[in-house]
């Protein structure tokens, strides 16, 4: 199982799911209409490292974070 966490303003509880790569996460989250806009604008980290590849492999215990658009300062 991997954990999906939604940072900042998304206001959604963590999800746990079976996934062997980020492709599986994308497919699962795309079924949630509430997340559609967020998926278009969020960056993604796995275990706190930013990732750019949907083929990024996942193993049990991994944590996938969605990071919405930022505005510090």
């Amino acid at each position: 199982m991997v954990t999906i966490e939604f940072l900042g303003p998304i206001q959604k509880e963590n999800i746990t799911m079976e996934a062997s790569s980020l492709n599986d996460v994308a497919a699962h989250l795309s079924e949630d209409a509430e997340l559609k806009t967020w998926l278009e604008t969020c960056a993604v980290a796995v275990n706190d490292t930013m990732v750019m590849d949907l083929d990024t492999e996942l193993k049990s215990g991994d944590r996938v974070s969605l990071l919405p658009p930022v505005c510090g300062g």
């Binding site: 994308a26 795309s30 505005c71 300062g73």
Partner: protein, 148 residues
């Protein structure tokens, strides 16, 4: 050195302390940037969420970049609510000569705005409203939107 504060950052204390920390370090230039909450569009202040693990790794990468240029960075930021006319952000570069510090403070603050995992909210009529229109999508965003 990355410092996080609940509420406004204590600007005067920070600037004096940073100056004192480096006054014998032989840096010829100290360039601070201070971000202050403006009174605009009826807000009573701003509020911030921070995701520390990724902020720390982003900052560590910048610390290394500064070191390679012979400079050092310091940064302080607020978490939670900051009222009007108080400051939420202080950053500074120290370098032997001015050119490196002047260029680096610009590059550092711009990358901070585009990449640091901090989310801003307007405080208005007792509500905390995500500043979506003023926010920037992090490089690589949209990865999970699926293939189109």
């Amino acid at each position: 050195m990355l410092e996080l504060y609940e509420g406004p950052v204590p600007v005067e204390e920070i600037l004096v302390r940073w100056y004192k920390e480096e006054e014998k370090s032989n840096y010829g230039a100290f360039i601070p940037f201070i971000g202050t909450i403006r009174d605009e569009e009826g807000i009573s202040g701003l509020s911030f969420d921070i995701y520390e693990p990724i902020l720390n790794s982003w900052y560590e990468a910048w610390t290394l970049k500064a070191k390679q240029a012979g400079a050092i960075l310091k940064m302080a930021h607020s978490r939670g609510d900051v009222p009007l006319h108080k400051s939420s952000y202080v950053a500074a570069v120290f370098s032997p000569k001015r050119r490196v510090a002047l260029e680096m403070i610009n590059e550092f603050v711009e990358d901070f705005k585009a990449s640091a995992p901090i989310w801003k909210y307007d405080l208005r009529d007792g509500e905390r409203i995500y500043a979506k229109e003023r926010s920037t999508a992090i490089k690589g965003s949209g990865l999970l939107k699926g293939k189109s």
